[in-house]
């Protein structure tokens, strides 16, 4: 069993007839993902990339028994697309869209917390479970089945590390891009917990960034709950400190957010922190 995406996932693509949605649908299908349909309002009844298009997610659930969706709709409509998936009780929702207003996401988040669905993203590369399928835009060929769980805030940095792992002969159980937006559905802690409980994952690579306190929360979680080894890289050590307007942000976030603080917290939790993402395979190999 991988986490999140598995052999029983029946995936639909919201925005399947768009440029990005269409391209990545082809890529997902080519990778072997079980894409059972797509949704574009007004195009129900048509076909795209070999799968049926529905007008609504509800219709796709009814007709194609969809239980997972990946969202490629434009930012102004993406929040509603997530609400639609929630309303249709889709269990796994991956939102790739970048640029959703945070106010829209807060409204979605309130609804998400009342549901039993899992949202990954938005503004993320999605999920890749080597050998099973992918939901999102991660290039499939860089990954290979194995026992390293990868979780990351970033896009291309994830590919970099997955590629390095594959080249080092270390396959991946599941790769999860959680996204770097202020309000996201799935956090480092959520994914770490899933990896900890996943018998197919033996060790974890975690890729963070400056800003926010998600990595600090992760460090606390790791210290308390994790038995599997974790290696991490935090991007942004060379970035100048953020010059922030006003005081409210500083009061809410405190002083957390710098790369040094995150690295320190992770090291204190027993995480091996790399100076260079290309060191990650070695750090995990010497477990």
């Amino acid at each position: 069993m991988s986490i999140l995406l598995n052999k029983d996932s029946r995936i639909i693509v919201q925005g399947i007839t768009g440029r990005e949605g269409g391209f990545h649908t082809q890529q997902m299908i080519a990778y072997g993902s079980n894409v059972v349909g797509g949704v574009t309002p007004g195009k129900g009844g048509e076909w795209a990339h070999g799968v049926p298009v529905y007008d609504t997610v509800r219709e796709a659930v009814k007709q194609a028994e969809a239980n997972a969706t990946v969202i490629f709709v434009p930012p102004a409509l993406a929040a509603e697309a997530i609400l639609e998936a929630l309303d249709a009780k889709i269990g796994l929702i991956v939102c790739i869209t970048e640029g959703i207003p945070v106010r829209d996401m807060m409204r979605v988040y309130a609804k998400l917390q009342q549901s039993s669905s899992r949202l990954v993203g938005p503004n993320c590369p999605g999920l890749l479970t080597p050998g099973i399928g992918k939901m999102g835009i991660m290039p499939g060929y860089i990954a290979t089945p194995g026992r390293v769980g990868v979780v990351s805030k970033s896009g291309t940095l994830t590919y970099e590390v997955v590629n390095a792992l594959t080249e080092a002969g270390m396959g991946q159980s599941t790769c999860v891009g959680i996204g770097g937006d202020p309000v996201i559905g799935t956090t480092f802690v959520d994914v770490l917990e899933m990896f900890e409980n996943d018998p197919e994952t033996e060790m974890i690579a975690m890729l963070g960034e400056i800003g926010g306190r998600a990595e600090i929360d992760a460090a606390e979680y790791i210290a308390k709950h994790m038995t599997k080894p974790v290696a991490a890289f935090i991007a942004g050590r060379s970035a100048p400190p953020n010059t922030r307007m006003g005081h409210a942000g500083a009061i809410v976030d405190g002083n957390e957010g710098s790369a040094e603080q995150k690295i320190e917290a992770l090291r204190a939790a027993g995480v091996r922190v790399a100076d260079n993402p290309e060191q990650i395979p070695a750090l995990l190999a010497n477990k």
């Binding site: 770097g180 942004g236 006003g246 409210a248 942000g249 809410v252």
Partner: protein, 386 residues
């Protein structure tokens, strides 16, 4: 996108928050005229999008129009942090009996706006938050239901605001949340919110930041962007949909993806710091960049005279490295850079991309296989040029 004080206060007033109704002056003469109109003591306040304005001498009181002109003259053109002051706000002066802090921002931990208030307002509010956290009240707001009256009562109560001010405070708190929500703000802050000599609550200073992702539905806010604070290179980058931030180092970086761009910067610092070498910029060209975008990015990087070498790090996911390589050669021929360029292509069609770079046979175009190698070569190239 940050708004100036005068823009923020104009939005506050629209939402029923009392604030001094001064005007903006771009010249000392304008400041003099405004002061004459106000006909009383005024405050001349630098309008710059950074903090620490007061400590830098950007806020001055004047008792006469002539003095206002003089103060404006001293402020307009002065540098505050990395910015130059281009305009001042001339406000009627207020008597400050008490300074309160009232702000709203998003708390990403809980996915909700949070109202922050303290009866110990003013410039040192962050210090208060650290030393006496109980003096800073936090009230989370349901983003769907909005700020409720009982929450305002709770805040007023917790901050020990005298009850005679509750009604006025309620109107201001409601107005601030409405202003925050209606404008897709990520920050709306009144600091200080004062009790003045007439025992009235007044928003003496205001700051707002708008969610860039939401500007598409607020054209009137997007039009408020202050282009004078943006360096030319940053303006060009924004036009071209390239994320660019100038830094102080010597290695120009061009990367696809923000996380990898920061990582690439980190690598130049990791291998260059002991030689005094580091990143000259953050630059994310985004996904699927084509030749013209690569050329534009290269131009932006090279517009910085500090740049001694360039590091291009592309992880081709959906983007194909051979396409990037071809774009790179085109861009090279167009821009004709003199500084050495280290280019590292990884991912989709990386091999083909590398071959294209090599067969172009340009001596200043240096290929690298790994990020480590690329960073080391870029550092060495910059060092050679130092």
């Amino acid at each position: 996108m940050d708004l100036h004080e005068h823009q923020s206060k104009a939005l506050f007033v629209k939402h029923g928050i009392p604030a001094p109704m001064g005007e903006v002056a771009h010249t000392p003469e304008e400041a003099e005229a405004i002061a004459a109109k106000i006909n009383g003591k005024v405050v001349v306040k630098a309008q710059v999008l950074t903090g620490g304005r007061g400590k830098a001498g950007g806020v001055k009181v004047a008792s006469s129009p002539a003095e206002a002109k003089e103060k404006a003259d001293s402020i307009i053109g002065m540098p505050i942090k990395h910015l130059t002051v281009h305009k001042v706000l001339v406000d009627p002066a207020s008597t400050i009996v008490k300074e309160i802090y009232l702000g709203i921002t998003n708390d990403r931990k809980v996915g909700k706006p949070v109202m922050i208030a303290s009866s110990e307002g003013g410039m040192d509010i962050e210090q208060v938050a650290k030393e006496n956290p109980d003096a800073v009240i936090r009230e989370h707001i349901d983003p769907v239901y909005g700020l409720q009256g009982y929450q305002i009562t709770s805040v007023a109560n917790a901050m020990n605001l005298p009850k005679e001010h509750w009604k006025a405070f309620g109107q201001i708190a409601r107005g601030l949340y409405a202003c925050y929500a209606a404008n897709d703000a990520t920050l709306a802050e009144i600091n200080p919110l004062i009790i003045n000599g007439d025992n009235q609550l007044v928003a003496l200073d205001g700051k707002m930041s708008i969610d860039d992702n939401a500007l598409f539905r607020h054209p009137e806010l997007a039009a408020m962007r202050d282009l004078t604070v943006e360096a030319e290179a940053e303006a060009i980058a924004r036009e071209a949909d390239i994320s660019y931030v100038k830094l102080d180092g010597q290695i120009g970086c061009m990367v696809n993806g923000a996380g990898l761009a920061m990582t690439t910067m980190d690598m130049t610092q990791l291998y260059g710091a002991d030689k005094g070498i580091g990143p000259a910029n953050f630059l994310d060209i985004g996904g699927g960049a084509k030749a013209d975008k690569v050329a534009k990015a290269l131009n932006i990087i090279l517009s910085d005279p500090n740049v001694k070498s360039v590091l291009i790090n592309i992880f081709g996911g959906i983007t194909r490295c051979d396409e990037v390589a071809r774009g790179m050669i085109e861009a090279y021929n167009e821009v004709k850079p003199v500084v050495p360029i280290v280019i590292r292509l990884q991912g989709t069609n990386a091999k083909e991309g590398r071959e294209i770079i090599q067969s172009a046979n340009i001596p200043t175009l240096i290929a690298a296989a790994t990020l480590t190698e690329a960073a080391q070569k870029a550092v060495a190239a910059a060092e050679g040029a130092l």
